[in-house]
Structure formats: structure tokens, C-alpha cells
């Protein structure tokens, strides 16, 4: 006779530099684990189909849509969320540029945008406009038309 499937599992992972060990439901989405179990509500949910990118985080350094992964899949991983960007409240140059260039309005897509753009700048420090737009095409914004977001990322990269 087969064993009953496990309904929950203990996972261990690093989130924004802090070690976390927790029992999670096997079906818990990573985004709900981050938001509801860890209380890191900066990571947002904007759709239920993986299109909008508001839930983008870094999983072992790669930008990942956390609504498209289960929490148990993050076992052993290093996660960075938007709350992990500004050390001690000191904004990163990208966060500062979002403010200076008015790259956000309602701010709902902003965490995901920042995580995607941060990942881009980490691998391509001086991106072209085309590269910026390509890197952000998985993140929807319904307020800005992307104009100032693209401008802010390019400004940080300094290649404009």
C-alpha cells in the first residue's frame, strides 16, 4: 500500500540573510509563504497566471515569479525580496532613481520591477534601452507606461 502523500513539509531556507525553518503546506505557493507566513508583504500578487511579475523575487540570485513556485521548492535556497534591497533603510541607487525619475505611481508593481531590474543590473551593469525593456517585459505596470521605469534603470546603468 502506498503511503498517504505528505500534506506538509519542513523547509529550511535563507531569506534576506536570515535563516528560516518552517513547516509549510505542500501546496503553499512560494508567494503566499513569503507574504502570509513570513509577513514580508512587499512581494505582491497581481494575477493568478504568472503574467504580471508583481511577485518577482530573487531565488539563488535569479529573478523568479514566486507565484509560479511552491514554497517547498525553495527548500535550501537563498531568497531575496524587495525588503532585502535597502540595507538599514539606505535606498539602493535603483530605488533612489525610481523616486527621482517618478518611476512609480500606485507602487503595486514596483517591488517586482525593482527585483527584475536589480537582477538585470547585476548581470548587465550598463544595459541599453532594449536590454532594459527586454528584462522588464515580464513585469506589468498599469500606471506608468514604463517610460520612467525604463529611464530610471538606464540612469542607474549610466549608459544612456
Amino acid at each position: 500500500m502506498m503511503d498517504a502523500p505528505a500534506r506538509s513539509r519542513a523547509i529550511s531556507l535563507e531569506v534576506n540573510g536570515e535563516q528560516i525553518e518552517m513547516e509549510v503546506q505542500a501546496r503553499r505557493l512560494l508567494v503566499h509563504f513569503i507574504r502570509d507566513d513570513l509577513g514580508l508583504t512587499g512581494t505582491h500578487v497581481g494575477c493568478d497566471t504568472g503574467n504580471c511579475g508583481a511577485c518577482t523575487i530573487h531565488l539563488d540570485g535569479e529573478p523568479v515569479k514566486s507565484c509560479m513556485a511552491l514554497a517547498v521548492q525553495a527548500d535550501g535556497a537563498k531568497i531575496r525580496t524587495v525588503e532585502g534591497l535597502a540595507a538599514e533603510g539606505e535606498l539602493t541607487p535603483l530605488q533612489q532613481a525610481f523616486n527621482t525619475h517618478h518611476a512609480l505611481q500606485c507602487g503595486y508593481c514596483t517591488p517586482g520591477m525593482l527585483m527584475s531590474a536589480t537582477a538585470l543590473l547585476e548581470r548587465t551593469p550598463h544595459p541599453t534601452e532594449e536590454e532594459v525593456r527586454y528584462a522588464l517585459q515580464g513585469n506589468l505596470c498599469r500606471c506608468t507606461g514604463y517610460v520612467n521605469i525604463v529611464e530610471a534603470v538606464i540612469a542607474v546603468g549610466g549608459s544612456a
Binding site: 512587499g42 494575477c47 504580471c52 535597502a86 523616486n99 505611481q105 507602487g107 514596483t110 506608468t144
Partner: protein, 819 residues
């Protein structure tokens, strides 16, 4: 203390106002430290999931929740039967027949659109609530489905038996003498049919609320993202058989609204019932698919039998049209859309003879709600389509014909045929800026160059108005018994004990930067930097800084919102001056407020009181005041614009106060093989009078343009004949992403409003300029390939391809009768 006065007319001296100050809101939002309703938790709260109809039209034979209730962790359910017992139908704004419609918080006995909530389940986790919803057994008996407004008009199938007809509202608007204008015209251009499609702004944050019920006081607290709580409460309180004082709305950060968060009262009433029934906080976060399926679409409108009177020189003297508006299954905010368009009756043009025969019907589709550009955008699209179809048919230049027919700068303020006043603007000058931005002189050369690559290049203009600050009295043109008129907004400003300047606003911002712009206005009035001004985030009924029409909608913050802020700040300023004069023993005229001090002008350095001293004296050290001296440093002010009454006989009146102008111009290239449209150049020029914060204004222009581009080329709620929505999520409903957006060139003019407190006009909605100019550009491009006429507002590749294959089918829509 409350002060209500007529609209103030003085304008501010410029200081912080007019500067692109980076937003105060951003610091928290870029760190993920904003608070959206779904971020808020309460001990023991339950998660609500709605059971929704898979049918567009069906009788509900039975609902069995027993299996759901047996699931461990399920707290309870609510069905339509309970709703019918414990609540009353929502107030309807229409006259008969629409006024007889019964709209409950859940479907009662019958479902009328796919996704309509029939029951609600509450459980310990989101996942459990979904599981339990799956266990609710609903037996449906399907009914014939109406997805077409013209079919609906026949009343072969009737959605609402209480109404007895699918017509919500109908009426004829007749200004000038259109029959005489047509008789005297040299050309009459007839257009059989134009269709403005169904889409919405789809804010990235879905709707929802956390609702708590206090059994001891009978009060509900809704931590939510309703963008117009005052009006939400007007719907909800009577339905819940309670007073408005029992409903406390709290908003924090809101992830976009665009009008789509105005009609949340049905779901919120279910949450209120659930919280009371279960005695625990309950939370509902809408899923994206549910938002697309069953929250709020923009109004779909078909224009039939258009006739346009044109003189030999290209002057257009009038038009007549039958407008058929499809509001979906329930009117809710409707039939207001049946009059809101009349704020921009002639568009930007000088024609004086206009007849609109307007009818609104229900269909088995999602209910509509206001959506960025609400109702005016549809009508402005009609006027722009008329201009470009006439121009194409008669061989007129689209620039010349506009300049000939635009209302002229020297005619401002301009009274429209229906008694509205365009307050200021210079449309031809704004058009010239747009033409410069896209290098209009080079277009023919670029057309040839595109042709050499096998592409069809087209140029189009969209001229629109963003009318702001509604006169709710226009609702009486629909239903004379409605007791609405005017408009208002409130704000409070206080100077606290340690010198803190604290502002609360009645508006319910969703990304418009009100914390920043309100701080700029207050800083100039009180003489301190904006950083010293703490504008409370969001809305809270208990702040008491709201009025009956509070909210952020209809492009009115710059007028009413900032008008209220300015009024309250001026009252505090007066208190500060009186207090400083008393303390410094100087005449009030000698006191100035600057740099965070109240001081004697040109006086000695020590003759200055910091804000902290003023705040401390009034709040904590006031025994020395004479009995008749009572500065409070704490004022509430209501900005109440002056409209006058509307004339319900002639259907005229000042329906709104300010008119911002947008002139958009686009160059597109069409691939004739695929019908793909690429925007190769785009300019948007905006004139909203005084710009409080130009960077914020420009951001709104970008956003409105992106919405219009999406609507023009891809965003469409498509239903099949069974009433199933085929574009129910972001896979099938394509909104522009970063690769889709063309580079935008923006330009600005400032024609200060003579009627607004700060000379600033409401803006932000735009008038759908991108929809108009892209449609016009596609039509222009198609002139070289069969001369198709663009008759719909959404032109994705398959539709453009069809026009290329069969241009005659579109041309059959148009006829020119010349004398």
C-alpha cells in the same frame, strides 16, 4: 471646525507649487513597505471565496452548502437566499424600466453573467476557502443568453423580470437644430455603424477588503481599496439596513483604481454579512480571473445611423447619432454613463447642432463601472471618428479640418450647445506642438520610405478633453427625482503640539501622488518645506476629512481636493498669524510665515516663533488667552464648487467645471502580410492649466497613453455566443508590456483655469487620445491599400488584416450625399 464657502478664486503665488518635487509616497513603496489592504492581518480572520456562476444566464434551482460546511476549517457560508432575507436590493439611479431592477449582493434565484457570485464561503486559509467553494453544489437551469446590445433591445429574452425590458434608460438629447443643419449642408456624410469596444484598465491590485464587525456598537470597519467610499456607503448602508455612521472605510495604499474600484458594494455587503454572521474578521482578495470576469468593465457603445452636416469649405455644423450603450447584467453606477458623455458633447469642435438618441441596455456580460475616461472617451472617440471619416471621404486634410472646426482660443470660455463652459485652452496651438514633436513635415517622405520596405505608414490625430469636477446634478437629467447636485471634497489641516503640520484628505488616492501635491500646496501657504508636512496616507471615515462625494475619480483632485487643502491651510495660517501677533505684540499685518517660523517682517531675529512654539501654546499652554481669543490651529474645510442648477427640460447646464486638453499624434506602420500595427512615432500634448507638479502630470499622461494604446491594439473583453468571457486573464487579455510601448514624446501647455482654486484643472483620465489617433493612423495607412474605414476602437492584427482583405465591407458603412 467646519467651514463651507463658495469656490475660492484666488490663485497661489508659486513656490513649491509648480515644481517637480519627488514624491513623498515613494520611500515606503520602493522598499516594499507600503500597506495594501491584503497586507493587513487580524487574529482569527477567515478568508472568503466566492462561488461563481459558470453560466451567463440561468435559473438557480438549488444551492447545497452542506458538504462545504463539513470540511474542517470552514467557518461558514452565505447564499443568495440569506442575502435576500437580511438585505435590501441596492438603490437604483434610473427611472423605469431600469429603476425597477433588483440588484442584490449575491445572485438571488437567477444568474445573469458568467462569474456572478452565487454564494460565499469563509475558511481558515485561502486554499481551504477555495476547496470548500468547490464543494458547494449549485443546480442551474440554463436560459437563453444575450451578448449583443441590439439583440437585447428586442426584448425577446428579458434579463430582469422586475423591469420587464432590457432597456435601462433611454432619452433623446437635442441641441440646436440638426435637421436644419443637415438640410442646409453641402455634404451629408452618413455612417451606419461604429463600435466602441469593451475593455477596462485592469488595475494590477485586484479588489478586496478586510471587514470587521463590532457586535457591541453594530459598526463595520472595512480596510479596503474602494476608491469612492462616500458613494459606496450610500449604496451599502440602506442595503444593510443600517446608517452610514456604522460603516467605517479605511484605505491605505491602493494598487491602482482607474474607476474599476467604485462598484465594490455587492462583494463588500457579503463580507459585512459574513463578518456579522461568523463573529470574526473576514478577508476577501479577488483573483485576477474573477476581476476580469465579474468586477467591472468599461462601457461598450455602438453608434448607429450617424449623419454629419458638412459645408463646402469643410466646416461641420452638426451631427445626429443613435447611441446604444451596453452596461452588462446590472446598471450599478449606471445609468450615469448615459449623461456623463454630455460633458463633452461637441468634443473640441464648434458645431452647434447635435442630436443624440441614447439608449442603454442590459446584456449577459459583466456589469460595467466607470473606467478611465468614463463615458466621455466613448463619445470623444465618436467625434474623432466622425472628423476623420468625413476628412477621408471628402478628401480634407486631417490637420486643416481640425483647425477649421476646433473651438478657437479667443472663444474661451466657450459655452457648448448644452450649456457647459470650456474654461480655457488653445487646441490649435496644442496640435501644432504635437505636429512639431513628430516632425509632421517629414511624413510623406517617411511614407515613401516605409513603402519601400513593404510597409503601410499612416498618420493620425486624437484630440480630446478630460473634463473634471462633476456636477452630480447632471444625474437629474436622467432621473428628475434623484436628490443629487453639485460636488464637494473635504480636507483638514492642523498644527500639532511639537510643530507638526498634519493634513488629512478626503480623496482616496491610488497612485496619483496626493500626499506630495497636497504637501506642496500646504507648504506654500504655511511657509515651511513640504517635508515638514505630513499628509496622512489614504482615507479613514474616522478622520472626518471627507464629504458626500469624496474620492478620487472624474479628474477632480486638482480642483476639489487641493481646493479643500488650500482652504483648510489658509484657516490654519490665519490662526498662526493671529497667535503670533498676540505673542509678539505686533499687528497681524506685520506677521509673515516663512521657513518654519511666524515672524515679524523685517523685525529683529528674536521676533520669530517656530511652528513648535505656536503648536505648543495652543495645544498645551493656553491659559493666558483672553476669553474671546481662540485660535485652534486645526481646521476642516469643504470645497464646494459652484455650478448652478441644470435645466432638466432643455437638458442643459454646467455639467462639469474644468476641461484639460490632450492632443495626441501617432505614426503607425502596418505590415500588410499580417495586419500587425507598429507605432513608430508618438506625441502626447497635455494642457491641464497650472501644473502643481509637472512630473506627476507627465506620469499621468504616460499612463493614460499606455491604457489607450492597449485598448487600441489589443485589450478587449471578448465573449462567445454563450456568454463565456474568452479573455479572462493576462494571457488572453494582452496589456502592453515594456516591449510593446513605443517611445513617447510629450509636450505641455499651461492655460490656467479661471474657475479652479489653483488654476489647475483635473487631469489624469485623459480622453483616450491614443485610441483615437491610432485608429485614425490605421485608416490613413489603409488608404493606400483599398481605402478601408476604421469602424471599431480596437484593431488587433486580425481585424486590420480583415480590413485589408475586404475594405469594401467597411466602406459599405459610409455614404456621402452631396448637393
Amino acid at each position: 471646525m467646519t467651514t463651507v464657502t463658495e469656490q475660492p478664486t484666488t490663485t497661489l503665488k508659486r513656490g513649491y507649487v509648480g515644481q517637480s518635487i519627488p514624491r513623498k509616497e515613494d520611500r515606503r513603496l520602493v522598499q516594499g513597505l507600503g500597506t495594501f489592504f491584503d497586507d493587513v492581518r487580524r487574529h482569527g480572520m477567515g478568508y472568503v471565496h466566492f462561488v461563481r456562476s459558470p453560466y451567463a444566464h440561468a435559473k438557480i434551482v438549488s444551492i447545497d452548502v452542506s458538504k462545504a460546511l463539513e470540511l474542517e476549517g470552514v467557518y461558514g457560508t452565505i447564499t443568495g437566499d440569506e442575502v435576500a432575507i437580511h438585505t435590501d436590493p441596492f438603490f437604483e439611479m434610473s427611472v423605469e424600466p431600469g429603476g425597477n431592477i433588483k440588484d442584490y449582493a449575491l445572485a438571488v434565484g437567477r444568474v445573469r453573467f458568467m462569474g456572478e457570485p452565487v454564494a460565499a464561503v469563509c475558511a481558515a486559509t485561502r486554499e481551504l476557502a477555495r476547496d470548500a467553494a468547490d464543494l458547494v453544489e449549485v443546480d442551474y437551469d440554463p436560459l437563453p443568453v444575450l451578448v449583443d446590445a441590439e439583440e437585447s433591445l428586442k426584448d425577446d429574452v428579458v434579463l430582469h423580470d422586475d423591469a420587464g425590458s432590457n432597456v435601462v434608460w433611454s432619452g433623446v438629447f437635442n441641441w440646436g437644430d440638426v435637421d436644419e443643419a443637415l438640410a442646409e449642408a453641402d455634404h451629408v456624410v452618413k455612417i451606419d455603424r461604429l463600435h466602441f469596444h469593451r475593455f477596462s484598465s485592469t488595475p494590477l491590485e485586484c479588489a478586496g477588503a478586510l471587514v470587521e464587525y463590532d457586535k457591541g456598537t453594530g459598526e463595520w470597519t472595512l480596510t479596503c481599496n474602494h476608491q469612492m467610499p462616500g458613494v459606496g456607503a450610500i449604496w451599502m448602508a440602506p442595503a444593510l439596513r443600517t446608517g452610514i455612521d456604522k460603516l467605517r472605510f479605511v484605505t491605505h495604499d491602493i494598487g491602482g483604481g482607474f474607476g474599476n474600484k467604485i462598484c465594490l458594494h455587492p462583494q463588500y455587503v457579503v463580507l459585512c454579512l459574513m463578518a456579522r454572521k461568523l463573529g470574526r474578521p473576514v478577508q476577501w482578495t479577488e483573483w485576477r480571473t474573477d476581476q476580469h470576469t465579474a468586477n467591472a468593465h468599461g462601457n461598450e457603445r455602438t453608434f448607429l445611423d450617424v449623419e454629419v452636416a458638412v459645408k463646402a469649405d469643410g466646416t461641420m455644423t452638426g451631427f445626429k447619432v443613435k447611441a446604444l450603450d451596453d452596461c452588462g447584467a446590472f446598471p450599478r453606477y449606471e445609468p450615469l454613463g448615459c449623461i456623463i458623455w454630455a460633458q463633452v458633447t461637441p468634443g473640441l469642435y464648434g458645431w452647434r447642432n447635435i442630436q443624440v438618441d441614447f439608449t442603454q441596455v442590459c446584456t449577459n456580460k459583466s456589469p460595467v463601472s466607470p473606467n478611465r475616461g468614463y463615458s466621455r472617451m466613448q463619445h470623444l472617440w465618436l467625434t474623432e471618428r466622425i472628423i476623420d471619416i468625413v476628412a477621408t471621404e471628402l478628401g480634407l486634410d486631417p490637420v486643416d479640418v481640425r483647425k477649421k472646426n476646433y473651438v478657437k482660443a479667443e472663444q474661451m470660455p466657450y459655452e457648448t450647445p448644452n450649456g457647459c463652459f470650456y474654461d480655457s485652452g488653445d487646441y490649435a496651438a496644442a496640435l501644432d506642438i504635437a505636429l512639431d514633436l513628430i516632425d509632421y513635415g517629414s511624413i510623406e517622405q517617411r511614407r515613401k520610405e516605409a513603402a519601400s520596405r513593404g510597409k503601410l505608414l499612416g498618420f493620425g490625430i486624437g484630440s480630446t478633453l478630460d473634463s473634471g469636477t462633476n456636477n452630480f446634478g447632471q444625474s437629474t437629467l436622467l432621473n428628475p427625482d434623484l436628490q443629487f447636485s453639485g460636488n464637494n471634497e473635504a480636507a483638514s489641516v492642523k498644527l500639532d503640539i511639537f510643530g507638526e503640520v498634519v493634513v488629512t484628505i478626503g480623496t482616496v488616492p491610488q497612485g496619483q501622488g496626493h500626499e506630495t501635491t497636497a504637501a506642496q500646496v500646504v507648504a506654500d501657504i504655511l511657509g515651511c518645506p513640504p517635508e515638514q508636512v505630513n499628509v496622512r496616507r489614504g482615507h479613514d471615515t474616522w478622520f472626518n476629512s471627507h464629504a458626500g462625494f469624496s474620492g478620487t475619480y472624474a479628474s477632480q483632485f486638482a480642483f476639489t481636493g487641493l481646493g479643500a487643502v488650500k482652504g483648510a491651510a489658509e484657516l490654519v495660517r490665519e490662526d498662526m498669524i493671529q497667535l503670533a501677533a498676540a505673542v509678539l505684540q505686533a499687528p497681524a499685518e506685520a506677521i509673515e510665515l516663512a521657513d518654519g517660523f511666524a515672524r515679524i517682517k523685517d523685525g529683529p531675529e528674536e521676533a520669530a516663533l517656530p511652528f513648535m512654539a505656536l503648536g505648543a501654546i495652543v495645544n498645551a499652554n493656553n491659559a493666558f488667552f483672553p476669553p474671546d481669543f481662540n485660535p485652534t490651529l486645526n481646521h476642516r474645510y469643504v470645497c464646494r464648487p459652484n455650478f448652478g442648477m441644470v435645466d432638466t427640460e432643455k437638458k442643459t447646464g454646467q455639467l462639469t467645471l474644468t476641461y484639460a486638453t490632450q492632443i495626441h499624434a501617432a505614426l503607425v506602420e502596418i505590415d500588410p502580410e499580417t495586419g500587425e500595427v507598429e507605432i513608430v512615432d508618438y506625441a502626447a500634448v497635455d494642457d491641464c492649466g497650472v501644473r502643481i507638479n509637472p512630473q506627476i502630470v507627465e506620469g499621468q499622461v504616460h499612463g493614460a497613453t499606455a491604457h489607450a494604446i492597449g485598448a487600441a491594439l489589443s485589450e478587449e473583453f471578448v465573449y462567445d455566443e454563450e456568454g463565456t468571457l474568452l479573455t479572462a486573464n493576462f494571457y488572453d487579455y494582452h496589456v502592453p508590456h515594456a516591449m510593446d510601448m513605443p517611445p513617447l514624446k510629450t509636450g505641455a501647455m499651461e492655460s490656467p483655469s479661471p474657475v479652479a482654486p489653483l488654476g489647475a484643472k483635473g487631469m489624469g483620465e485623459g480622453g483616450g487620445g491614443g485610441i483615437h489617433c491610432i485608429g485614425a493612423a490605421i485608416q490613413d495607412a489603409l488608404q493606400a491599400a483599398g481605402k478601408a474605414i476604421v469602424y471599431t476602437s480596437c484593431n488587433p492584427p486580425h481585424r486590420v488584416w480583415s480590413m485589408l482583405q475586404d475594405p469594401e465591407a467597411t466602406r459599405a458603412n459610409v455614404e456621402v450625399v452631396s448637393k
